[in-house]
């Protein structure tokens, strides 16, 4: 589970955040329900010192989210041409299944494979599993992966990653340490800063990322230090312009070469909610004797949102709603009187009830309340 990117990924400029590394708020594509994206990028590329006159990438991903799982499939291919090199640079596929549950601890499993054809030939197949602890605005994850690669000869690969992400307003900082064995053993430190200002700050919604890393140990190939900058500008609700420039290291786990790239791309989404380039932010919340406030974050990377209720419960707050199939779901205490839960909720009007410390179910006082047809009432939650 290193963050080293194959050629096509690096060229998209969206980097790992947009293709599923679950950092709060950095997501640009996922939504509740199902959907997909199709994109193209083009620009000059330098691979292991060989400069191409032109490189182009076609990439696609589709996702489907339910109350229990998020499934995602990605595929893409690159092609580059010069007087010296002609052929396909990189073809890859990846399938991901992750929990989209309300649990504090979430899991994610990946399988991916790819072929690189250029000045040399290589292939890889990997699988990875990740456990992630989700807190209010921060995350901590531990991941491990195993696989095999072929580059003149076959060899096995393994890695362990420890990562963390923290958010301050509309900036998210992510760091990870990777220990990798692929022919030789080495370690990497990677970092990323993502900035997604609120709508209205700029004429269009933008998302900017600066990422980099360094590798030590018995390293292979070019770029033992690397850095990149990418920007995504949402042109319409379904299209985004992607610009990227930087270097990426060789990836012994995938037997792909190091590269330097500059690219411009267009990304189109379909299905689900409109693409968002946003980050959930903290909010000033007024104190209260009882339930003080109810807030809902932007759509997170797995299609869920974080529902926060400020309530002075001693031990437990639960909700049940149409978006939980009217099953009781416990919330997690994330502050003195802040309780959160991750939910899969679509745009529209939703009805919910809550209870504190095992008491009676009832509406949430700060929300509009309507009769439920069963002699009680339910709160109305409007979501866009």
């Amino acid at each position: 589970m290193t963050v080293v990117a194959p050629v096509a990924y690096a060229q998209t400029g969206v980097t790992t955040a947009a293709r599923g590394e679950t950092h709060p708020g950095t997501q640009v594509l996922s939504s509740a329900g199902h959907g997909g994206a199709l994109g193209v990028t083009t620009g000059p590329l330098t691979i292991d010192g060989y400069s191409t006159a032109h490189a182009s990438t076609l990439f696609s991903d589709v996702w489907k989210t339910s109350e229990s799982f998020t499934a995602r499939a990605e595929a893409g291919l690159s092609r580059f041409e010069t007087g010296h090199l002609a052929g396909y640079g990189d073809i890859y596929t990846r399938v991901r299944l992750a929990s989209s549950s309300v649990a504090l601890l979430s899991w994610q499993t990946d399988a991916s494979g790819g072929v690189y054809r250029g000045h040399r030939s290589s292939e890889y197949l990997t699988g990875a599993f990740r456990l992630e602890n989700v807190g209010a605005g921060n995350r901590l994850w531990l991941a491990t992966g195993f696989g095999g690669a072929y580059d003149a000869s076959s060899y096995g690969t393994a890695n362990v990653t420890l990562g963390a992400a923290a958010q301050q307003k509309d900036v998210i900082a992510t760091g990870a340490v990777n220990l990798v064995h692929a022919r030789s053993t080495y370690d990497e430190v990677t970092g990323r800063l993502a900035w997604a200002p609120d709508e209205g700050v700029f004429p269009v919604r933008i998302h900017v990322e600066i990422s980099g890393g360094a590798r030590s140990g018995n390293t292979l190939g070019a770029h033992t230090r690397w850095a990149a900058i990418s920007g995504t500008a949402r042109l319409t609700g379904t299209s985004a312009l992607v610009l990227a420039h930087g270097t990426a290291p060789s990836d012994p786990e995938r037997a792909t070469p190091g590269l330097a790239y500059t690219s411009v791309g267009l990304r189109l989404t379909f299905g689900g909610a409109a693409a968002r380039v946003g980050a959930p932010t903290t909010s000033q919340i007024a104190p209260s004797e009882r339930v003080a406030d109810v807030m809902l974050s932007e759509v997170l990377v797995d299609g869920t949102r974080t529902l926060t209720i400020r309530a002075p419960a001693r031990a437990q707050v639960e909700i049940m709603a149409d978006f939980t199939s009217w099953s009781a779901v416990p919330m997690v205490r994330t502050g003195a009187d802040a309780w959160t839960v991750r939910v899969l909720v679509r745009s529209g009007i939703h009805r919910l009830n809550m209870r504190m410390d095992g008491g009676e179910w009832g509406p949430i006082p700060v929300l509009p309340t309507a009769a439920d047809g069963f002699g009680g009432s339910a709160s109305l939650l409007v979501v866009h």
Partner: protein, 237 residues
Amino acid sequence: MTTHSRRGVARQGTGNRHLWLALTVILAGALAATPQGTDAQQTASLTGLDRRVSHALRERIGLVADSAVAAGLPVGPLIDKTLEGASKHADDQRILVAVHAMLVDLRVARRALGASASEEELTAGVAALRAGVSPAALTGLRRSLPRRMLTVPLSVLAALVTDGAPTALATTAVINNASRAGDSDLLEFGRTVAHALAGGVPAQTALTTPSLPAGTETGLQNTGRPPSQAPAKPPKP
């Protein structure tokens, strides 16, 4: 370099095979994301009732669902109402009455909003109807915003009227704001009005004064009114 060139040419055939393979994967993924048929959804939804309600009630709900499907109405709101009743320990007869009432309201909402109304629009329309908005007002909203998805405008309207805003004023205000603002701004408008109403501001003033500029969306939706302010009126029975 020459060696690389020869290798590249020699691999064109392999490359073409990989190109088709990749395109096949992309197309297969896109097809996998295509929504399933209505019948399959209905079956899946009813299956979700298996461990939540009695067999007898499930059979009765199935008949109501059949009526909905025959009328081109979504089954989801009916299943949702059933699950809500079951979770609140309502008896079977009461759940059945509530589900029938939902079917009736869905029909009214569909008639008012048009045959092309989505499930989300119909659900929001039912919420508006139950808050006291007339079917004619829903039709007026549709005619005023013919190309717009009405899920959020209807939801905001339902919440405003539930909070005590007069129906006619709220409908006009929602139409006016929805015609020049996006969903996020419209939601913010609804929240601002709800705050004003809860603070004792007259509805006429509350519904006409706050007109938010586009692009005021924040990353976090604050969904409620200030905690110290009670609802302007009790919920409708």
